[in-house]
Amino acid sequence: MTDNGTTQRNMIQAINNAMEVCMERDENVIVFGEDVGYYGGVFRATAGLQEKFGKRRAFDTPINECGIIGVAVGMAAYGLKPVAEIQFADYIYPGLDQLVSEAARIRYRSAGEFTAPMVVRSPFGGGIFGGQTHSQSPESIFTHICGVKTVIPSTPYDAKGLLIAAIEDPDPVVFFEPKRIYNGPFDGHYDEPVKPWSKHPASQVPDGHYVIPLGKANVLREGEDVTFLVYGTMVHVAMRAVEELGIDAEVIDLRTLLPLDMEAIEASVKKTGRCVIMHEATRTSGFGAELSALVQERCFYHLEAPVQRVTGYDTPYPHSLEWAYFPGPVRTRLALERVMEDVSG
């Protein structure tokens, strides 16, 4: 089934449309979570789905994240394709046991007899003055457990294609949505007027079914001097920084953290010899640590400078000092200066 039309969509609309397309194609796809049904979600990601598909396929749940993820595992074991929403990534922790010990291991421990093809969607990241309980980026927790895929889109186009791929994937997928860029591609310049998605080419979203395969990165910009490894909101921060500093950088949007597109990373870093990794999450044991180790292991003899990380600090996300915390343009520039230093002598 192909539909040739495209519609301009922001990220919320693209995510909403991905679920709609999947629910139309497969009656086993159901969505649920806190405020997800009648209201359509606090960010409106599931708006209209209950109206269209009925309350047995799009419904509200008790405020119990352990229950939301646990029943998703049971539904998936039955043969449904549950798409569960955790209202904020900061609220996912009560459901961790069901993800870490259950969803992630069921295929393995039952030797493939039972599986958990489910998606847990959750808005994550800061930049919205949400304080420490509405701003976290816990993605590295999920890449650290064996058996869950972790996906983070950066544009409406990617969000739809990746979410459809996640829903159709035979394994559990954690799908983190950078909420700061739901309505526009925020590039870290908080003092500038908000840019809407409508001015960005990736807001042209095909109406029908399409898939962006999990595990494939997107080389957003080709360059010779340095490789940026980024995902989510940081994609836009990096692109703006590169543009402002006039550097010939290669910018890679990872899209999927696990499984990782190592081929794309390796080819790029071997070409440029320099690497900057960016994420909003706290630094220590963040996903950047894994990326840095991989780059060092596989590209060591091509490296011209130590790999640099641009990250959040190892503190809870502060409310009033949000922009001092957020890894924005200046932190990016300083890292770039460090990585471009001539270290040969």
């Binding site: 309350k55 008790p62 405020i63 304080g131 420490q132 503190t315 809870p316 409310h319 009033s320 949000e322």
Partner: protein, 431 residues
């Protein structure tokens, strides 16, 4: 096996999904809510076995009757002075909420949550506790602080995340904390405070202290595992704690049926755990006071915990972030059969000849003026702009008592970054 025949002729199963009675545009009729007359519920001895008071988990303790009289065995028989203090704390809380809600709408802060219609649940309960009893509130019990005469300016400083905010601008507005006020740091994660309250109460008991703990959570949040963890620990150790479930009917857009409210009462959860359960009219300040007083005495005499369901109504949106007109009938608040807690206590005071309309209007005016003055004072300390009211270094303080090397390093990185940013700005200005 009941049946081994796979081809047996059984009817198909159906998935039940609860549905609230009224949605936007629907006319509202609450006449089916069972409201027993005021004064009709017996008051058990505070040492009664939980087993002997099961009915209380399904009833509704009420003191104020239709004629605004205080009736029945639960009447706490408070003197007029105390009644006026409770009334004033509720009126001041409402005035504070109005002002701070508007401040958010004016862009002076990022977020706000009112407790309109639920003032009694926090305030009358606080009046029945001792000042040093420990409270573990959720996000809608600002009334505790106001009942304990906490400084409005101090509360507003927190809402504005300004330079006088004792929490150093770290927390979302309304997530107050004051050890001096026996008010535990509010979390944005739901129901986490409930087992903590039980733990505090267990500690107080273990140390032979005399203080008890009280905690509040919404009926929606009582679905969280933390709530149930709290109940089992409270029951097992007979913890001196009061577990308040504020059943205000709505959890953002989800009605109480999504927390199990269609099947039974929230107070009935106590029955399963072997805890004393009371279901009370949460808009009746005297019922709230009396139930809290009962539970406090029970706790103080080592008879164990009490779970109180406060049956009330969230008269406004969940927060500044939602529009209730999108998911519930606009008529619900005005049709709520248990009225408004401020109006009911006011009418009672008038009924006993201790209050009148003029004094009430004067009090409202005085409260509005006090809030306005406090706001002006708080705003001198700053409003939430692009932050930076706190020295940058405060970001790294109190992650640990002693700062480890990696945070020291990151702190220096942040200061270097700030200097670099200032240099850019300077160059731009010099041009």
């Amino acid at each position: 096996m009941a049946a081994d025949d796979p081809g047996r002729n059984l009817p198909p199963l159906e998935l039940y999904v609860p549905e609230p009675k009224y949605r936007p545009g629907d006319p509202v009729d609450f006449s089916d809510i069972d409201i027993p007359p005021a004064g009709a519920t017996a008051r058990p001895d505070t040492a009664a076995s939980h087993d002997d008071m099961r009915d209380h988990a399904y009833g509704l303790v009420r003191v104020l009757d239709e004629d605004h009289k205080a009736v029945g065995p639960w009447d706490p028989k408070l003197d007029a002075g105390t009644l006026r203090k409770i009334l004033r704390a509720m009126a001041l809380t409402r005035a504070y909420d109005e002002r701070m809600f508007r401040a958010q709408r004016q862009g002076k802060t990022s977020f706000y949550m009112k407790c309109t219609g639920e003032e009694a649940v926090a305030i009358a309960a606080t009046f029945a506790l001792d000042r040093d009893d420990m409270t573990f509130p959720s996000y809608r019990q600002q009334g505790i602080l106001i009942a304990r005469d906490w400084s409005l300016v101090d509360m507003m400083n927190q809402v504005y995340s300004n330079k006088k905010d004792r929490l150093k601008g770290r927390q979302l507005p309304i997530m107050y904390s004051t050890k001096q006020g026996s008010f535990f740091s509010i979390s944005g994660n739901l129901a986490t405070q409930v087992p903590q309250a039980v733990g505090w109460a267990m500690a107080s008991a273990a140390k032979g202290d005399t203080r008890i703990a009280a905690t509040w959570t919404g009926e929606g949040s009582s679905a969280e595992g933390d709530f149930h963890s709290a109940c089992i620990f409270a029951a097992v150790y007979k913890a001196p704690v009061i577990l308040n479930v504020v059943n205000n009917q709505w959890a953002i857009s989800s009605f109480s049926g999504f927390a199990g409210g269609d099947q039974t009462t929230f107070a009935a959860r106590a029955v399963g755990y072997g805890i004393a359960g009371l279901r009370i009219d949460g808009n009746d300040a005297l019922a709230v006071y009396a139930a809290t007083q009962w539970a406090a005495e029970r706790a103080r005499t080592n008879k164990g915990p009490t779970l109180i369901e406060h049956f009330t109504y969230r008269a406004e949106g969940h927060s500044t972030s939602d529009d209730p007109a999108q998911y519930r009938s606009a008529d619900e608040a005005s049709e709520w059969p248990l009225g408004d807690p401020i109006a009911r206590l006011k009418n009672h005071l008038i009924q006993i000849g201790e209050w009148d309309e003029e004094r009430h209007a004067a009090m409202d005016e005085e409260c509005a003026g006090r809030v306005k003055t406090a706001q002006k004072q708080a705003e001198k300390n700053g409003i939430l702009g692009h932050g930076l009211h706190q020295p940058l270094e405060t970001m790294f303080e109190e992650v640990f008592e002693e700062m480890p090397w990696h945070l020291r390093e990151q702190e220096q990185d942040m200061l270097d970054e700030n200097e670099a940013a200032n240099n850019v700005a300077k160059t731009r200005n010099d041009r």
